[in-house]
């Protein structure tokens, strides 16, 4: 085996030596944009590797989590998400939620400016919130937004059609200039700690320090380059070569191949609910007993062990553990890996000899594919035959998500700071209820939870909602994997958020 490697290496070396002798290749001349780690320290800049391309510069029209993570550094709303899962004042300096939870009063921060130095006015804020509201559909949490109006010199009031204690979480929507018009892509403006410099599609997204930022001594860095590296193997090699400083979403296996002298591995969680989502209208998954049987048959610990070296948080409902206030940990053990029980339930449901079905898996994310493989093995033990069919993500959006033409699919769903965001997709008449889940009890409780103003009661309702999903085995919720981030050991301050965000404003050189 070693011989094979050495033969290959020798071949490669010979070819390269011949090739290089003509070119006079000198590595010193290839010092590109980023320079070495030490150069970057001198210029107070950082290169962050990101695995997804930026899909939009318009903060109100972002599709992917990858883009939200980056734009978090550029745009801010009246309030801004904190790493603790709450919100803090940003463009507004303070806010008061009305007693009836039907309006919120914001005081605009004095002297808050866009990157170009123009001051943020009430008109900008009204424009932004109204524009954002337009982009959100009827089924969304934003649909209870009624109006926004000026109150006095420097105050803004947001009115709601129904009482909601969670609406404040949605006021993180980005504030942009009213002069933005319809095409914000050309010349973006925002109020975040970093200002847009340039974007080369598929290559890099570069931001520089916003000198007008309202917070003192923030950000620390002068320049951040988000380098798009879609291939994880290549990203690991680029970490080791010193081309990039920060790269997230590594598995434990991958993290062990990163040079430990150059990088610290910081551990957080990815914050998505990954699992096998079932079409509750498709036979035999329209039978609750079958769904429960499948849940007993699936070995979630094995999935975590196989894919993430056992570092995932095993879950049992559609909620992330990081939302600790609302998270119902009891659901984790509603089902255990129990083959006998699964067989018993199948028998009861009339599927004693098992059945066959197809899992449609989007091909753009390896862990989903591998989860499906483990599930297939698990189900074989109880006599169920699962066939895996890999499809392109766009096909998934169209066929599975929009047209709900599937039996089962392995994907992950995420949410916002508002706890309700994890449950909207399970409300029977929601446009995005792609699992066709239908439980009147759940629907009723969801409405109650959303409008409840007493915090303890609210928590109680959300706990119940999670338990209902678990008891019904609405889908086979599996895990929230841990997120291993390689961070250049000269840097400090990396923090995790319960939403898609990579905050560069708190990162600094030691």
């Amino acid at each position: 085996m070693k011989k094979v490697i050495s033969i290959l290496v020798a071949l490669v070396t010979v070819a390269a030596l011949c090739a290089c002798s003509g070119g006079g290749n000198n590595p010193e001349t290839t010092g590109g944009e980023g320079g070495t780690n030490t150069d970057r320290k001198a210029s107070n800049s950082v290169v962050v590797g990101i695995s997804q391309d930026i899909d939009s510069l318009d903060p109100h029209n972002v599709t992917t989590a990858g883009t939200r993570e980056v734009l978090f550094n550029l745009y801010e709303g009246l309030v801004k998400a904190t790493s603790g899962g709450d919100v803090e004042p940003a463009v507004a300096s303070e806010y008061t939620i009305a007693e009836d939870f039907k309006s919120i009063l914001f005081t605009i921060r004095e002297g808050v400016k866009f990157w170009d130095g123009t001051e943020v006015t009430a008109d900008d804020i009204i424009f932004s919130v109204e524009r954002y509201a337009e982009t959100q559909g009827e089924g969304s949490a934003f649909s209870i937004f009624e109006s926004i109006e000026k109150e006095g010199e420097n105050q803004i009031r947001v009115n709601l059609s129904e009482p909601s204690s969670e609406f404040i979480y949605l006021m993180t929507c980005a504030i942009i200039p009213a002069s933005y018009g319809d095409d914000p892509q050309g010349a973006p403006q925002g109020t975040g700690p970093f200002a847009f410099d340039h974007f080369s599609p598929g290559e890099e997204f570069v931001v520089t320090k916003n000198a007008n930022y309202w917070k003192e001594n923030c950000p620390y860095l002068d320049r951040v380059t988000f380098k798009i590296v879609t291939d994880t193997e290549s990203a690991i090699l680029q970490l080791n070569a010193g081309t990039i400083d920060i790269f997230q979403y590594l598995t434990a296996d991958q993290a062990s191949t990163v040079d430990a002298n150059m990088f610290n591995i910081v551990v957080g969680s990815i914050n998505y609910v990954q699992g096998m989502f079932l079409n509750n209208n498709a036979a035999p998954f329209n039978n609750k007993l079958v769904r429960q049987a499948v849940y007993y048959a699936v070995d979630r610990q094995m999935i975590s062990d196989m894919l993430f070296e056992g570092t995932s948080h095993i879950i049992g409902t559609n909620m992330i553990p990081a939302a600790s206030t609302y998270y119902n940990a009891a659901t984790e053990t509603t089902y255990t890996h129990d083959v006998a029980k699964a067989k018993e339930l199948l028998k009861e449901a009339g599927y004693e000899n098992g059945f066959e079905f197809t899992i449609k898996v989007p091909n753009n994310y390896k862990p989903h594919e591998r989860t499906a493989e483990v599930i297939k093995e698990n189900l074989a033990e109880v006599g169920i035959t699962a066939n895996i069919k890999l499809i392109d993500f766009n096909e998934w959006l169209d066929v599975v998500y929009k047209n709900r033409d599937y039996e089962a699919t392995v994907v992950a769903v995420d949410g916002t700071l508002a706890p309700s965001s994890f449950f909207t997709k399970n409300v029977s008449d929601n446009v995005n209820n792609f699992t066709n889940y239908n439980n009147p009890e759940f629907d009723e409780l969801y409405v109650k939870a959303l409008s409840e103003t007493d915090k303890d009661k609210k928590i109680e309702y959300y706990m119940q909602l999670q338990q209902i999903l678990a008891d019904d085995a609405a889908s086979i919720y599996c895990q929230d994997p841990s997120n291993l981030v390689a961070v250049n050991s000269q840097l400090e301050g990396y923090v995790f958020f319960p939403i898609s965000a990579q905050d560069m404003s708190v990162i600094k050189y030691k």
Partner: protein
């Protein structure tokens, strides 16, 4: 002159044909740019709105003719995904990919012809089998592997280049070339093996011909026969094969571009297909088609020069 005119006419027909095929392909596969761009939180109204904005609601024939009208003026429209003009998106990528392809092709020529001749001269059975084995091993290594091996060896161990630190040729032409040498090795190595194999077979087939025996009988030396007669004749099929190789280099650099983080046309094509960004796909495919047809044309011309008996 008439010949060239005819060639240009057929080129245009071929490009038209391929543009239609790509359009049809996009009407067949599920998902479209609007769905792709709006993602999971899209409402049916917004999808409909965006479709209208992008012109996707129009019948396919109408869409095609609008596109065609602009394309003949070399305006390939705006990328759905990035909202910038396709031309600006392609500009630098074409240069990067071209440099990469050219370096790879030079490597193929420079190495495969001498090795091919050397290999053809091996008469002993073990020698031949050894040559076949080596070329086969080189051919069989997937370019992805070769890419990772090369980056590991030259970037991590030997530190000859820094992976991911590609400089645009606009900033430093030689800097870009120096970086591209390494991905070029990954692309060229299997192609060198293929060409060597092909050339060896071709030379050996030629050596069995009657005229070679005659030449020997007339007292020519082995090398005299080889370089004077055989090589020229055996290169004829190789030229066609070179055309195939060039096409493969152009199309086959996608994975290598990805591993070496080279912003090239190949990676753009893959992203554009998955995002259903068909203005970009159309432009890239047409570009490839144009290149391949022109290369084949050049091959035909060289062919005619090398072997004047051939009527094209």
């Amino acid at each position: 002159m008439k010949y060239v005119l005819k060639k240009i006419l057929t080129l245009i027909i071929a490009l038209l044909l391929i543009s239609i095929v790509v359009f049809l392909a996009f009407s067949v596969i599920p998902g479209d740019a609007a769905i792709s761009k709006l993602g999971t939180e899209a409402t049916p109204e917004r999808i409909a709105e965006l479709r209208e904005m992008l012109g996707l609601d129009k019948p396919i024939l109408e869409r095609y003719f609008i596109w065609l009208g602009n394309a003949v003026q070399l305006d390939f429209g705006t990328s759905y995904q990035y909202n910038v003009s396709v031309n600006s998106l392609l500009g630098t990528r074409i240069i990067n990919s071209s440099i990469l392809s050219i370096i790879s092709f030079i490597m193929v020529i420079v190495f495969s012809i001498p090795i091919g001749i050397f290999s053809a001269k091996r008469r002993s059975v073990p020698g031949r089998t050894a040559m076949t084995t080596i070329t086969q091993i080189t051919m069989g290594v997937p370019s992805f592997f070769l890419g990772v091996l090369i980056t590991y060896l030259f970037s991590i161990i030997l530190k000859m280049f820094r992976l991911g630190d590609f400089v645009s040729p606009a900033d430093s032409f030689w800097g870009a070339c120096a970086y591209l040498v390494f991905p070029a090795i990954a692309i060229a190595l299997p192609k060198i093996a293929m060409t060597v194999k092909f050339l060896t077979t071709s030379i050996r087939a030629e050596l069995h011909k009657d005229y070679v025996r005659t030449a020997y009988a007339k007292g020519h030396t082995k090398n005299g026969v080889l370089y004077g007669h055989v090589l020229k004749n055996s290169l004829v099929p190789v030229i066609t094969f070179m055309g195939v190789i060039v096409a493969e280099i152009v199309a086959g650099s996608i994975i290598v571009e990805k591993v070496f983080s080279v912003p090239g046309v190949g990676t753009l094509l893959i992203t554009a297909i998955t995002n259903r960004d068909y203005p970009v796909v159309e432009a890239v495919v047409l570009l490839f088609a144009f290149l391949i047809i022109v290369i084949n044309f050049i091959v035909d011309m060289i062919y005619k020069i090398v072997d004047p008996r051939v009527k094209i």
